[in-house]
Symmetry: C2
Subunit: 437 residues, 2 copies
Amino acid sequence: MEVPVTIDLEVEGGHILTLDEQSTEWMSGTVCISGNRIVFIGNPADRPSSFVTRETIDASGKIVMPTFFNCHTHAAMSIFRGLANDLSLELWLNNYIWPAEKRNVSRETVFLGTLISAMEMIKSGTSAFADMYFFQEDVARASEQCGIRVILGEALFDFPTPGTGTPEGSLAYTRSLHQRFTNHPLISVAVTTHAPYTCSPEVIRMAAELSEELGIPANIHLAETKDETETIQKRYGKSPTRYLYDLGFLTSRTVCNHGIYLSDEDVELIRQTGASIVTAVNSNMKLGSGICRVQELLQKGVNVAIGTDGAASNNNQSVLRELQQVGRIEKAYHEDPAVISASRLLSMATINGAKAYGRGNQLGSLKTGKMADLMIINPDQPHWYPRYDPVSSIAYSMQSEDVESVIINGRIVMRNRELTLVDEKKYLHEMRRLVLR
Amino acid sequence: MEVPVTIDLEVEGGHILTLDEQSTEWMSGTVCISGNRIVFIGNPADRPSSFVTRETIDASGKIVMPTFFNCHTHAAMSIFRGLANDLSLELWLNNYIWPAEKRNVSRETVFLGTLISAMEMIKSGTSAFADMYFFQEDVARASEQCGIRVILGEALFDFPTPGTGTPEGSLAYTRSLHQRFTNHPLISVAVTTHAPYTCSPEVIRMAAELSEELGIPANIHLAETKDETETIQKRYGKSPTRYLYDLGFLTSRTVCNHGIYLSDEDVELIRQTGASIVTAVNSNMKLGSGICRVQELLQKGVNVAIGTDGAASNNNQSVLRELQQVGRIEKAYHEDPAVISASRLLSMATINGAKAYGRGNQLGSLKTGKMADLMIINPDQPHWYPRYDPVSSIAYSMQSEDVESVIINGRIVMRNRELTLVDEKKYLHEMRRLVLR
């Protein structure tokens, strides 16, 4: 006799884009979820007869695909979204952002800012983000409340920071976070190192050691601006990338954000070590920092993923907008519409992100055995018509609001545009009150 | 005794951005509409006591602003949206778009394609578009059905075209369209000339003469690609701009689309004649054609407005996405976040568009006496929080779907995301059937 298998959730009838290595698609397929795992994906007719489904979502006429991975943000910085744009970077940081951070960054504002960003991320189809900021317990708390995955770690700087105060303090705090969240279904920890120009060789070395000891990712801003490159060249007589390499910071566990000013030698160091690059194109454009040469990095075999950066500089937390922008900017830069394909853009936003954080075997595509992180997209809007190829529609026409429902770790966190775990109106109201204060 | 004045529609309580010359705002204002005109705008307390309001829309907590002007598109080309992207321009045109046009462009498909684009435009806050394509009576029919303004004219080419067949035929047809639509509340006519490389000096001259005789705008693709510039240089020994200038085509009634490859002399000719430039940045990026130097043109005193181009190359019909992209690309190109401001971007998408088509005194900003074209935006989404300055939020954070209601010529054409005059589902269904055929 067949033993019945409980299927907690089945998403049936959608056009499934698995985004796996073979770009497998089903025009009208089904995804069966048991607990937090995908246990079957394919034609409904092939579903094992032992399956007993508890809840079904009808996805007929919809598109079902993996959720996005936001590999770089400062989620709490949504509290500064739209604060004094259109200024030079120096004026903006010195006269607005830094004074505002000094006055306003606290456990309460980090919690609220992270919540707002997490809600925006879920509503635009993101199920996981890597955060770099302070008060990371509160980032954990906000993420848990929304049901979104987070990779967190207290940001390391040479100079005093809110919260832990010293680099040693931040490292100890990151270690304690790692202990606390080991085996947590949604939260994991990385050694979050600010940048070559804000972290001394000692701090970089300590960060690398902790990452190695605990076997966890290490992330950092790298080669974001010309200024940074010149500063490091003057200070150490080498490029920022070489600086990190010489200190043993670059490994396959390392995630380098921005990666705009990279020489051929720098790219080769990144390729050799297996470190990943995360582009944050909309932030880089808006700040006038420069453009990451994505296609060249991909061609050289570097894993390139996508991040939004914080909402103070972007000003959105939608990975969809980023992948669409990478496509446009690559084609514009190379003056060649064939230089990058829609499916490559989708990979960057999904599996490449999972790989960057060492989760490629669990996340980033729809596969039996992988974790159940997926979204249902409603293409019933004029901008989706006609639809010769949904992958192309996603890369060039889709809007973030077309994401209808989101499942993270087997749980429905948004259903028909309504967040299920968090009271959206309540926190938007709190944010309004915070700004008035 | 006071004579009562009937107010057909009042939009009350919203944060009103008039986008007039003084950037006048009311935090909680009212717009009173009688027939197709704005008859009062300001504080509700200052509304004349003689007003008798028939219908009120409560816009509390919302943003009210002028609708967008899409100065360049080929609306019917939505039928080719997403058809074979990621190819070189030559392959794409020769192997896909041109054969597809040959087989599929008919009165029926132009009607349907235009409808789909018009629906997308309204749903993203656009109230007027300038079209360049064939079978323009059917473009008129589709636009009328949606209640959107259109500036149309049969596209002129040297070679045979669908519909009228010859340039003389297209000119005669344009003349008859002008007669037919004189005094139409929504439809007006322009002499729609394809490009310097597809129109002989005779055709350009005839177009210029018709534009002058009827006192109507003339529009054209200009300096969109390097190839075009080289072709015209070889053929006539001058730049495409100088070619048009020498034929008397450039006047204050002329609208030049794209304007990417312009020398200093070309820009000076455009400035002197008072012609406008329309940038279509997302299409240009996606096709790898190059980038219009918007800020330099504005600084030299040229009127620069915004167009989406057709959905085959963009692949959207949202002016909002274009104005946002102009901001990012200018900041990226100049490596200077201060190079262009949010309010400048909004002007380009509204009043500059109206000016380009000689309608600056009737459209493009909210003012007593101007036509009642406005939109209500719902900012109650995480990506709008917080909101230090709504103009900045629109330029850097807003999504097209945040447009909640649209009023064109005093009539509500979209209410709470539902189109009021056209059966959206029916036509999306017809488009699906057309593609299957």
